[in-house]
């Protein structure tokens, strides 16, 4: 077995075995520590995937459009065209690292604070299982395997929300599970529409849509895009998201917003667009209109929102709208914008949910009416919240800027009345985003301290700093040097756009 194959297996096997080890460790605190160590090792393995000889990944005519840095291809269930086929390339690697990082931060955070509802040991084990599912989804190069990993995430995440969530957790969790299952069963049908027509489930061979008739591509893209639209979520299929985010415990919200939503956008780029490019071209205007609708609706709802976590949840609808707009343009600029927007949203919204959780834990309220003057009593928390909000609204120099700006640029570049209008409307949405985030800051950090805020102690716990610092640094780093993401993604995106033509 080569080094890269070992790494690929390790990235999945470490958290899977780690979950078992955590469940088997008798003492709660020790179990949480074991989980954190395992999540750390997974991050190391994920980061190491970058190593190795990538020179042969230069793209030339006649080579497949997906050329993974490392790959592992083993038979599993030949009767269902299911192969254990993993690979990593510039499109998936940033998301893999982001997933591993956020899981590690969440596990570390759990060392310090376990939300009410159940044992910390079970929570950490579930987090690791969710990690296996998400990483598997990003690494799978077999359609059926992709589907299997897509499904793995569902129930552990349900259990996290239902077990450790807020007052209305059961309803929110059930809504999450049913909605996303609806998405994944459509994915199942879409996958087998492709497999039945093409006779293979190999993503590498299928990318470019060779050998699929136009009718098949349209049907497949419709099913796949619907499936990923539920997960991303794309307006009007988003209504599970605000409830799930609001009710989930802090670590659940972070994983949910940070990486779980990315399974949808990643699937759209790698599977839906890659496998059925003709269908993508056909549906792109619809996708673009819906994405812009999501941006505008998300921002407007946020402007009227009175609950902190719900506001951040709805802001995800808007941000993912920018990502989907980028994908819908089907240009290199647009898809690059989508990829960096994905990563930026994961980092920034992860940080925002950590901060919202910290504020809610301290003040026992999330209502904007009862929160004000945070900077008077807890200046550090208020400063971090300000930083995250400003990053989220897309200030140049921070991570949020690149994805949103270039999604708009890509839409305008795509030309034509429709795309220009969409670009302009998206830019208006960007301004609205700034408006609601500044409103959030004005309400929460400025003014006289409310009774709930007045009791706060100014300090932050060490674990909080440890959990948040990497996200703050990443938001800065990706903002200042977007090439961290774009550098690795450039070649595979160009190859993908090449087959779209």
């Amino acid at each position: 077995m080569r080094f890269g194959e070992v790494l690929l297996v390790a990235v999945l096997a470490l958290p899977a075995l780690g979950a078992l080890a955590v469940a088997a460790t008798p003492r709660d605190r020790a179990a949480r520590a074991v989980g954190t160590v395992v999540a750390g090792l997974t991050l190391v393995a994920a980061a190491l995937l970058f190593l190795g000889d990538r020179s042969w990944t230069t793209y030339a005519a006649g080579t497949p459009a997906v050329r993974p840095w490392h790959r592992l291809d083993l038979p599993w269930v030949p009767g269902l065209d299911l192969r254990f086929h993993l690979g990593v390339d510039g499109i998936s690697w940033p998301l893999v690292v982001l997933t591993a990082l956020l899981t590690l931060l969440c596990c570390a955070y759990t060392l310090w604070r376990v939300p009410d509802g159940g044992s910390g040991r079970a929570l950490v084990a579930l987090l690791l299982v969710v990690e296996v599912g998400i990483l598997g989804t990003f690494l799978a190069l077999d359609l059926v395997l992709f589907f299997v990993f897509f499904e793995v995430v569902l129930l552990p995440m349900y259990a996290i929300i239902a077990g450790w969530g807020g007052a209305d957790r059961r309803r929110a969790a059930a809504k999450f599970a049913l909605y996303t299952l609806l998405g994944s069963v459509l994915l199942l049908v879409g996958v087998f529409v492709v497999v039945a027509a093409a006779g293979t489930a190999d993503v590498v061979a299928l990318t470019g849509g060779t050998g699929l008739s136009r009718g098949t591509q349209l049907a497949a893209f419709t099913l796949l895009a619907l499936a990923f639209a539920v997960k991303s979520p794309l307006w009007p299929l988003h209504s599970w998201l605000p409830d799930a985010h609001t009710q989930a415990p802090t670590v659940g919200s972070v994983v949910l917003a940070g990486v779980l939503l990315k399974m949808g956008t990643y699937g759209l780029i790698r599977i839906a667009v890659g496998v059925a490019p003709e269908g993508a071209r056909w549906a792109a205007p619809v996708l673009g209109v819906l994405a812009v609708a999501a941006i505008l609706v998300g921002s407007l709802v946020c402007l009227a929102q009175r609950e902190l976590k719900r506001l951040i949840a709805y802001s995800s609808v808007g941000h993912m709208g920018f990502v989907l707009l980028g994908v819908a343009t089907l240009t290199a600029t647009g898809i690059q914008a989508a990829l960096i927007g994905n990563v930026a949203h994961g980092v920034i919204t992860g940080l925002l949910f950590f901060l919202a959780g910290a504020i809610k834990d301290r003040t026992h309220t999330g209502s904007l009416d009862e929160l004000s003057g945070l900077r008077e009593t807890a200046p550090r928390l208020a400063g971090l919240l300000g930083f995250a909000a400003v990053a989220s609204l897309g200030l140049p120099g921070l991570a949020g800027f690149w994805g949103e700006a270039f999604a708009v640029v890509a839409a305008v570049e795509a030309g034509g009345a429709l795309w220009t209008t969409l670009g302009v409307l998206a830019a208006v949405g960007g301004a609205l985003t700034a408006a609601y985030l500044l409103r959030l800051l004005r309400r929460v950090t400025h003014g006289r301290p409310s009774p709930a805020v007045g009791r706060l102690a100014p300090g932050l716990a060490g674990v909080e700093l440890v959990a948040w610092a990497p996200l703050v640094l990443l938001a800065l780093a990706v903002g200042l040097a977007p090439t961290l993401v774009l550098g690795v993604a450039e070649a595979p995106v160009d190859a993908l756009v090449e087959v779209l033509r």
Partner: protein
């Protein structure tokens, strides 16, 4: 033609073993009259039957009782699979019955004897090559169950369930027999392959109203046995009234028997272009109605009963692909039959695990109770509750119940290969409805027990949370639960094994 037939006794070995088990159990009960010995005899017999079926099935297909090219008894790969699965399921149900029998609610000798008789029917069923053998085997499978359902002393529900089951089942058998008779009148054949060949040769026969009526009667009569909608109404009442292990037997072996019988006539005898649309409609109705009604159930066994109605719909779904011309090519047909058999195998393993866990979580000899009775069960019995959760999640078709996931994948794949995309979407949407109630039941296991603060449920009478109720401590139940769960996990990670066996 010679009057004396040569009989291939090797092909009949599994049937001999099963029938011999029944006789031995009867003798053991008469002569030794100790419950433990009777149970052990039945268990050893069931094991021997399973082994015998596997051994005979490992070789080539064996035929016997032949008239010319048509044989009444064809022991091939599928017959071996059915026989082995039936015998193993019987063994599992026997082990689950330990607490029930020890509680003295049912007489051990009769119970084991009837179960062994029923097993004999199931073992022969898969090998049946003509309509009469098929119907006799199916009746041998069902007949003892009327008694078993009602065999709980002093239970009115049990007696009611037995009468419902008996009446409906007899009507269904009559319909099937009438259909078989009409089919004989129309074609002059009784052997499944012969009927199929005659109907294929002479398409004009299909224009006869008589033939259409015959085909419809046979299919509908068998649909009763699978509890397909609209012939399902008996199942929930019967399951709920029967003792838990018998309900487990009904929803696994009895359902498998119905599926095998239906598959045999559809595959070999009846024209696919007639049965296809009927089966597609039956499948859609069965899964949709089963799932929707299951949403409203409060009693555990009724919920499982309605869910197993819905599951029958998923089993029938691949056969619905025969409705379209694209689904009637040889490849697509073979794939559809294999998918139905594979789904049935995945299903019975998960269903047995679910019932075993339910038996383990309930007091000895009790019925299934309500969903609220299971609230908080995971706090007292984490392993048993986890096993039940795994089985339910598998039935819903989601990881970590990979066996159920691959079962659904198999069905959807065969449907899309047969060009029946619309039916695949129906199956997919039904999986979502199904998750709603499986999730409710699973979540109840981990919920705060009834009566504790923070729950809105009224305290259930005899709930698991109440200290007076002690769930069963039978070792055999634990073994069945462990084995069924392990089997579900193994076929979840290596589903190819099931797919290969089902395709033989």
């Amino acid at each position: 033609m010679s009057v004396v037939q040569s009989v291939d006794n090797v092909a009949l070995l599994p049937a001999y073993l099963a029938a011999g088990t029944a006789v031995l159990v009867l003798l053991a009960d008469l002569l030794v009259a100790r419950a433990r010995v009777t149970l052990a005899t039945a268990a050893v017999g069931a094991t021997a039957t399973a082994l015998g079926a596997a051994l005979v099935g490992a070789g080539d297909e064996r035929r016997t009782f032949c008239v010319g090219p048509d044989c009444s008894y064809v022991f091939g790969g599928r017959a071996a699979l059915v026989a082995a699965v039936v015998a193993l399921l019987t063994l599992g149900v026997l082990a689950l019955s330990g607490p029930l029998l020890r509680a003295g609610q049912s007489p051990t000798g009769e119970y084991c004897f009837l179960l062994a008789c029923s097993m004999t029917g199931g073992v022969v069923l898969g090998a049946a090559g003509d309509l009469i053998t098929l119907i006799v085997a199916l009746e041998t499978l069902t007949l003892p169950l009327y008694v078993l359902v009602g065999l709980r002393r002093g239970s009115l529900a049990s007696a009611e369930a037995a009468v419902t089951f008996f009446v409906v089942s007899v009507v269904a058998t009559t319909l099937t027999l009438l259909g078989a008779a009409l089919l004989y009148a129309a074609t002059g054949g009784l052997h499944l392959g012969r009927i199929g060949a005659i109907l294929a040769d002479r398409p004009d026969l299909l224009d006869l109203p008589l033939t259409t009526a015959a085909v419809a009667l046979v299919v509908l009569g068998l649909a009763f046995k699978v509890a397909a909608v609209p012939f399902h109404a008996w199942a929930p009442a019967t399951y709920d009234g029967a003792p838990l292990p018998v309900a487990a037997y009904l929803s696994t072996v009895s359902k498998l028997g119905g599926v095998v019988a239906l598959l045999a006539v559809v595959q070999h005898a009846l024209p696919a272009d007639v049965t296809g649309p009927v089966l597609a409609l039956l499948a859609v109705l069965t899964m949709t109605v089963g799932n929707l009604v299951a949403l409203r159930q409060r009693r555990t066994v009724r919920l499982l009963a309605w869910s197993s109605v819905a599951q029958a719909g998923y089993i029938l779904a691949p056969l619905g692909a025969l409705a379209l011309a694209a689904g009637r090519t040889d490849d697509a047909r073979t794939a559809a039959y294999a998918a139905a058999v594979a789904y049935a195998v995945f299903f019975v393993v998960l269903e047995l695990a679910a019932f075993a866990a339910l038996v383990a979580l309930r007091p000895a000899g009790a019925d299934g109770g309500t969903v609220d009775d299971l609230r908080g069960a995971a706090r007292r019995h984490p392993w048993r509750a986890a096993a039940l959760g795994l089985a339910l999640v598998g039935l819903a078709g989601l990881p970590p119940g990979l066996a159920g996931l691959f079962a659904k994948v198999t069905v959807v794949r065969s449907l899309l290969d047969g060009g029946a995309g619309w039916l695949a979407v129906v199956v997919a949407v039904n999986a979502v409805i199904g998750l709603a109630y499986y999730l409710r039941l699973t979540a109840a296991l981990w919920a705060a027990p009834a009566g504790l603060p923070g729950t809105d449920a009224a305290p259930g009478v005899g709930s698991v949370g109440a200290p007076a109720v002690v769930p069963v401590r039978a070792r055999t139940v634990g073994v069945v639960l462990a084995v069924a769960t392990a089997a579900a996990l193994v076929i979840g990670f290596a589903p190819q094994f099931v797919l290969d066996v089902a395709a033989r």
